[in-house]
Subunit: 99 residues, 2 copies
């Protein structure tokens, strides 16, 4: 994943917040905007990409879609989980839009 790209990290806010963030990047001169999400936010990431392309910026295309898995250990879950080395996997997506 390229680090110097304009990135929009998708969370729990309404879809249009992230759509606006993407549009702001493009209006600021960005050639590429990367939409990143994990877990249940992934479907919202696709909503954002589709709304940006179809409703606001028809000249924006999908350059690439990558999926992957992030592994992390739940360290902040309280003492009853201490000593367990349970690794949790969460799926990720990165949608790169370009114009």
């Amino acid at each position: 994943m390229t680090e110097n790209l304009n990135a929009v990290l998708i969370g729990k806010k309404p879809t249009m917040n992230y759509v606006l963030a993407c549009i702001t990047f493009f209006h600021g001169g960005a050639k590429e905007v990367s939409i990143k999400a994990r877990g249940r936010s992934i479907s919202r990431a696709i909503d954002v990409a589709e709304v940006v392309r179809h409703r606001f910026l028809p000249n924006v295309r999908i350059k690439n879609i990558g999926i992957g898995t992030d592994q992390f250990q739940p360290q902040d879950q309280g003492e009853e989980f201490q000593g367990n080395n349970i690794t949790t996997n969460v799926s990720t997506i990165e949608i790169t839009l370009m114009r």
Copy 2:
């Protein structure tokens, strides 16, 4: 979207059910399996693709990931919605795995 492909349509069942469906297709000789999902099931589709690749079939690669929008009119919502032509958009994903 190619129609003659082996397709696994992701719904609300546990992830491993769909993983097993993919593996069954590949073990039956399929060269490609298409994982399709809409809306909130999209994150599960990515889970399925990641589990198939990383845990069960390491020689399987992602051939393509496509996203899109399905439009439908809520016709089955009862009489109070009759006469409205509200079109609902739902995001879709299609992950094509190949070996």
